[in-house]
Symmetry: none
Subunit: 127 residues, 4 copies
């Protein structure tokens, strides 16, 4: 279920955060679902438990998950709402990226095809 790529350059704890968030957004993880314990996750993906802890702590701070001492971590009820709040930032990031591509001479058509592809890919996953 969870995977990390140490060679990608992206911090491992960020990769974990992103994956947890993705799983929540596509409905694999629902409110009050338990997410893997720090130790089990660390063993599965072969990373330092501190790294997992850091990811969980940050998710907790964001309000995406809540931790119950002695029981584990669980998806919060507001998780989806919080995640959807971030869209504005991502949209401006998107605009910058498209702008760069436009400058680089990429055709508008190509970008539009890209949009279509991405939405098709979404259709395949969401049940």
């Amino acid at each position: 279920m969870f995977k990390v790529d140490v060679m990608s350059g992206q911090p491992i704890y960020e990769q974990i955060i992103n994956q947890v968030e993705q799983f929540i957004l596509i409905g694999v993880l629902k409110p009050d679902d338990k997410i893997p314990s720090v130790r089990s996750m660390a063993e599965k993906i072969l990373v330092n438990p501190n790294t997992i802890q850091k990811a969980y702590t940050e998710l907790d701070h964001k309000g995406i998950i809540y931790s119950v001492p002695g029981r584990g971590c669980f998806v919060s009820k507001e998780a989806v709402n919080i995640l959807n709040m971030n869209n504005r930032e991502k949209l401006s990031e998107l605009e910058n990226l498209i702008f760069e591509l436009a400058i680089a001479g990429v055709d508008k058509k190509e970008v539009e095809e890209c949009v279509i592809k991405a939405f098709e890919k979404k259709g395949e996953i969401v049940e």
Copy 2:
């Protein structure tokens, strides 16, 4: 002409690389044009010469510029071609980003508006 934002989190040398590449793509810098010397650039944007040197060295390795010790750095003839080669990577990056937005429930229309905006912004710059 050149600007850096120390607070952006993005490494300064990367910002310089990006700006040089942008100027080449929009035609402000043409093949065999001299780009600012390491020292003059360092004074202009108030960063250490080593940081500029690092940016120029990477641009040289990429084949975007060529440096002639004692004379300066110049835009290579193949610069534009090399930069356009990178479009494919950026397109897949774009697809990922749109996919994330789609998962997050962003409407296709919103994305399409974003595309339009970005291409308008380009139209304003290119003469």
Copy 3:
């Protein structure tokens, strides 16, 4: 294991790059092996950590090693392949050098002896 000659005129960082590559080619360093940390290497051979960093950064860009922040630098799986790709360039360099010697009146026999010596030297190292 690693040695640098400050007086040789060849940049220190290049000497380090060459030695890492040599160790990979003769099999002393294998894929996913950890290479010495920037700081430990700097202490061993008494050069500034920045110089080591520069060497490692270039090796990373070439795809010879990959670096995992917080963990260290490791030999990439494709390292040997990449290094062998450079042989063609070296062969043309070799042809030029022999050509110069030929022009300078060096006998073909002398060159051939040189070839034999070099391959003997290799035989001593490879087990």
Copy 4:
């Protein structure tokens, strides 16, 4: 006749030295022949006269050429002998290069073919 490549990385004055030496070795320039004046050479190959001067000064120091104030520079009688003295250094350079290729897994046959090619190329030039 003379050519320089500013993009090669090799210092221009070195390129000039090498070319003068080559022309002497293949007999295009013979003892007491006049070599181009600093100014005419500088105009022909579009480099700074100081650079040419530096090359000529070094050739003078080596005893390859001698300069007659007001008349120009001329190939010395001992030029060929002096140049042939350098062969030992080049031979050890050659051995190193072949050694590197051997380590890199290049077949002995390939190196030998290279030797043959280089000597053929020489045969075409020397009349």
